[in-house]
Assembly symmetry: C2
Homo-oligomer: 117 residues x 2
């Protein structure tokens, strides 16, 4: 196993199209229900959300708490181990801010403002 491979396999756990976004939501909002995550991340499908959450759960990044009631209620929280990811998520967030600024410098302010948050 090369150094790169170690690096790579450690990254596998949270990189990908959706995992950083899900983690960012949980870091920001704390405990969230499935439907809250869906609303917060409108473009993700149920299937993907479930799948990504299961993988994060498997890797001890998120915690799943089911309440036995009808209609069902499930809450997701970050585990203690997930705290190790905070610096990465923060750095990613900073990067995305910087990058957006970079883009608006390149393509002009009006366009950047046109993209509402």
């Amino acid at each position: 196993m090369s150094m790169d491979c170690k690096f790579e396999s450690a990254l596998e756990i949270f990189v990908g199209k959706w995992k950083p976004v899900i983690l960012f939501q949980l870091f920001t909002n704390g405990t969230m229900r499935f439907s809250q995550l869906q609303k917060a991340i409108p473009d993700i499908s149920k299937k993907m959300l479930t799948q990504q959450l299961r993988e994060l759960e498997y890797h001890d990044i998120v915690n799943r708490k089911m309440y036995l009631q009808v209609p069902p209620k499930v809450e997701y929280t970050l585990t203690e181990y997930a705290n190790n990811l905070e610096p990465v998520l923060n750095a990613m967030w900073e990067w995305s801010e910087t990058h957006l600024k970079h883009l608006s410098e390149l393509y002009g302010e009006e366009r950047a403002q046109g993209d509402r948050t």
Copy 2:
């Protein structure tokens, strides 16, 4: 464009299977030739390496310098703009160290030592 979408599209630029590994190499070694990158990342195919480098170049993360000689010589360097990614790469690296420790705690030392670097 939602906040998540901004975040996501900023991430696009450097997440993926290979980009963090390539960037890590360039941060560590400075200027590298194509063949050096290939040797440093043995599992990547020429096609992928070329493709990822082109994308990074397109996004102003790496710089490509061709020397007109035979056999050809091409050098890749990080751009100034790429410095903004350093904190992310560092945080990722820290995370991967932490994660490896986590794994060896879970599965025992002898196994972790068996995986040579």
